[in-house]
């Protein structure tokens, strides 16, 4: 089957590759670009472990084709840290112990990042609604909510 040359901006840098039509975005990121921070969880659009930003919106990268991302911008968990400094959302998960096994964490942080970009001071309900497509089987979500709240505070005091 035909291959397609795609160009995707990943963490702001143009990346080019020739891919099969059926290659999923998550496989493109992990296997072609070597960005293994994005996890594959359920692989059935439920768990959100594979969440990345596509043109600024959090989406499940197991349910997007790499060819659909051609000409678009992607940000993965690797794009959060800048110059050796953790992003407030990462700092929040660190400080509030927002993870146990860590499997859902990249997706949780990307969803949290997108929420705070849209709503700088979300209520607990808004946080819980925003992460309702990201499953965590360890924490019971309490510390994840605290982590996002912590990040919101850090962002507003830094601004």
């Amino acid at each position: 089957m035909a291959k397609h040359k795609i160009r995707v901006k990943v963490q702001g840098t143009e990346r080019e590759a020739e891919v099969e039509s059926r290659l999923l975005l998550v496989h493109f990121l992990r296997e072609v670009l070597g960005l293994t921070g994005t996890h594959i969880g359920c692989d059935t659009t439920h768990c959100g472990a594979c969440t990345v930003l596509l043109d600024g919106q959090p989406v499940k990268s197991c349910t997007v084709l790499a060819v659909q991302a051609d000409g678009r911008e992607v940000m993965t968990v690797e794009g959060l840290e800048k110059d050796g400094k953790l992003h407030p959302i990462q700092e929040g998960f660190w400080q509030e112990h927002g993870l146990q096994c860590g499997y859902c964490t990249p997706g949780m942080m990307i969803t949290g990042y997108a929420l705070l970009a849209r709503n700088a001071d979300p209520s607990e309900l808004e946080i819980r609604q925003a992460i309702s497509g990201n499953l965590c089987r360890c924490t019971g979500y309490v510390n994840i909510v605290k982590a996002v709240q912590h990040a919101a505070k850090l962002r507003t005091t830094a601004a």
Partner: protein, 290 residues
């Protein structure tokens, strides 16, 4: 999971997309948000030789009112519907519906047109649009035609859309003053399909009587179920408690669900009744507040 091989097309215009569909017909599928299609292909429950991605065609994703109609572009994302002030203020049934479809991440890609064209009675827009008496615009090689919502769904995953057509727009009649709607969905968890759900749209007259009613059920048969007898019974009456109860009873009786992990037939029918009553009370409340 990896889908069976297919070729991918990203037409820049509607004309190009229609030409691709005409060339490949049943071997082609339209890719909009992909949130139903890609899981099907990955699970290999479906296959297609060609995917025609309408994601790069401009002009298919607007929400606007024009000449007495709400016009929703077929590729409008659920998240856009959810955040639209016009939808929130004037079409609360659609705002309710958009907020409970799948989960927020899926809604960033999933489209209103896709939710209808997929022909899945477990999807939420089919019942919502049935209650609203919407119409869809199907654009094909010979132009556009309008399909009333009651004629769109032919059965499980089957619609009146031809293989050469794309669902380009949804038309919802703008509700007259004194109207309100609501969608009530019972789901086991966020992201699950409805165990049962009810969509209600009503318009009240000057005396508080119901002058028109749309009532439809999700996941209550092979296609969305319009509760015709319930609508007929309610129309012309004052929506007092006993009338709401009888309307809900008639709606529950119209449900033809099948048993699965979400519940037995009896349970789902009962939930259809309960949810219709709740949706109706909320729709009436909203109509009065208007």
């Amino acid at each position: 999971m990896i889908p069976a091989a297919f070729d991918y097309h990203a037409p820049a215009t509607l004309e190009e997309a229609l030409a691709l569909l005409a060339a490949h017909r049943d071997d082609a599928k339209v890719l909009a948000g992909g949130q139903s299609l890609l899981p099907l292909l990955k699970l290999r429950l479906g296959a297609a030789g060609h995917l025609v991605d309408i994601g790069r065609i401009p002009g298919l994703d607007s929400i606007k009112e024009e000449a007495g109609w709400l016009k929703i572009g077929g590729r409008t994302r659920e998240s856009e519907l959810e955040r639209s002030a016009l939808i929130r203020d004037k079409y609360p049934l659609l705002a309710d519906t958009a907020a409970v479809i799948a989960d927020p991440l899926v809604r960033n890609l999933a489209t209103v047109g896709g939710n209808l064209a997929h022909g899945d009675p477990a999807n939420d827009h089919p019942a919502a649009m049935t209650a609203l008496r919407a119409e869809v615009v199907a654009t094909g090689p010979r132009g556009a035609r309008t399909i009333p919502i009651d004629e769109l769904f032919r059965g499980l995953f089957t619609t009146a859309l031809d293989a050469e057509e794309i669902l380009t727009e949804i038309l919802v009649p703008a509700p007259p003053p004194g109207s309100g709607g609501a969608y009530e969905k019972l789901e086991r968890k966020v992201g699950d399909f409805a165990t049962a759900a009810a969509a209600v749209q009503v318009t009240l007259g000057a005396g508080g009587e119901v002058v028109s009613a749309g009532i439809a059920l999700t996941n209550a048969g092979p296609a969305p179920v319009r509760a015709v007898e319930a609508e007929r019974y309610l129309t012309g009456k004052q929506p007092v408690a006993a009338v709401i109860a009888e309307t809900a009873r008639l709606a529950g009786a119209a449900a033809r669900p099948s048993a699965d992990r979400r519940g037995t037939i009896e349970y789902k029918r009962e939930m259809s009744r309960v949810l219709t009553a709740r949706a109706l009370r909320r729709a009436i409340q909203r109509a009065k507040e208007q």
